[in-house]
Amino acid sequence: MKQSALSIDDLREAVMRLPDDSLTATREAALASLDEQGFPSIRDEDWKYTDLSSAIDVSNRWLAQGAKTESTDALRKSIKAITASIDAHWLIVANGIVDLTCFGEPADIEVEKFSDSATPFVMDRPLADLNAALLHDGLRVQVHGATEKPLGVLLIDETSGGAGVTQANVDIEVAPGCDAEIIEYQVSSGSEDHYANSVIALQIDQAAHVSYVRIQNRRAGHIQTARLSVALSADARLNMASYDLGGGLVRNDVDIDINEAGADATFNGLFLAGDGQHIDNHTRVEHRVGPASSSQEYRGILNGRCRCVWNGKAIVHKGADGTDANQANHNLLLSDHAEIDAKPELEIYADDVKCSHGTTVGQLDETALFYLRSRGINKRQATQILTHAFAADLVARAPVATAKDAITALVEKRLGELIKEEDL
């Protein structure tokens, strides 16, 4: 099957229509690069399971309509509800436009717009090019000290008047020795088709500790491609948990770069998929030096007709002795139509290395199900209880306490919907 192509001419027009500012040169360079490289296709090893045709289709329709992005009347209300549900210093990118109205004035966090800064931002891949080419503006954030509230990054999309395409780009640096809590929340609604493409970079400086929570709760049918790149300096620590609840086609790329010794990256994820969802989590850890450790556990709960992908890659470079890398992916398939492609990949070029990986794909434990039913609990409730138990472990590992209640509520709600979908 041939993948449709992005109409570059329309895209060029859209880029020209963006304000002429300090980003213009970068946008044009990105456009040229994208034109040359083309969109990722399923012929690329990294995109084998995830076909972006629908993202191209939405983009072309959006471009054909003049690349206009109008907000719905309800957008402010949605922002209010989310920022009220989790107490944080919120940086917002709403329909691709940066918005600092819910940020407050934290003493230890500095924010500047890309357009106000001389530092260019880097692009190295087609989706980053697309992001740069169409970017209204991005945010550069410096965390200097421990703030009493977490830093929130809300990427929210709610457009009207035809298909929508939005870009978000946020660059965060956590200064040496700081403890920071960060919440990334990606959400969308509205009746139009939507494609959201985001790039977030996180630099964790020496001996800094970051607790990071990612929530993705996009509307059914919406498309997300999101790249999070984390670079860790000496003795830096990342403790992260991701929750993918919604969306139609979702592709998350998490890149972890361990550049100096003593770093530790723990990142876990939970994805819940039902009818019509495709959720792809690609993770990649580069152990460039040792000793250092990385550990990830992703869990998936799939019901109905859906497909998920987990691809965890760990690369231990030559000389990165003392590396300890663990990866695990466990999946619960509640329907015969649910499909998972789980693939751990290890590339080891160093000698003194401890690596482990494990993946499991299974149904609910029948013995446990019967045990609960023999106590008078009906099959649907028993299924629910056991599925919740499978998810609860990862909810408990959410490293940002302020966000825990919201995550618990979202996960419970989504699980309730998922299990209803099944004909029990």
Partner: protein, 250 residues
Amino acid sequence: MLEINNLKSRIGDTEILRGLSLSVNAGEVHAIMGPNGSGKSTLAQVIAGHDDYVVTGGEVTFMGKNLLDLEPEERAREGIFLGFQYPVEIPGVNNAYLLKAAVNAKRKHQGLGEVDAFEFLKVAREKMALLGMDPKFLNRGVNEGFSGGEKKRNEILQMAMLEPSLAILDETDSGLDIDALKAVAEGVNTLRAPDRAIVLVTHYQRLLDYIEPDFVHVLSEGQIIRSGDKSLALELEEKGYDWVREAANA
């Protein structure tokens, strides 16, 4: 209360119960003994409704209802309780949560509202004290990391909370220390009432010293080959099963 008539059941291609009949009336305590692999747990699981076991013949009625028509959860709500020979560990499901969900399922079936949270905890703690269980077990995962004896006590705790009409206890005495055996026996004896019945599956006469049965049955190769009073258990302890089998074949 429970009428089993010529029950036949298989798992996979293997026939395990081969025409078993048993009648249990309200107020009675029955003990079922028999060699390993004779079908005791199979009988218990069939009564509880495990669908790995296919019933190929016979009838089972419970308080006048055709039991075989009911789902496992319906049987439980009608008042049947099975204490498992091997209780399942369910990590991530809180023990108190399960107890409460089970109690509420039954109450709903009886047309009652949900149990008051405070009252529920109070009763649960009382029953645990009676069974010599630390209240902290309420907050652990169901049977998660419990020792063998702790799992059995937990089964009895569930039984005590659910107050079933018919309790079938599958080797609840196995793996218990002497204090636990006494505590469990006390738990069972507390439940003894004119409107309830208890079926004990056991290998040991010792349990029957604490819970005195009205009837003792020997199950062998999927059939009950002999029934008697409590003296049969003593006789079995002394002579083993061979003589019963020989007598049955004669």
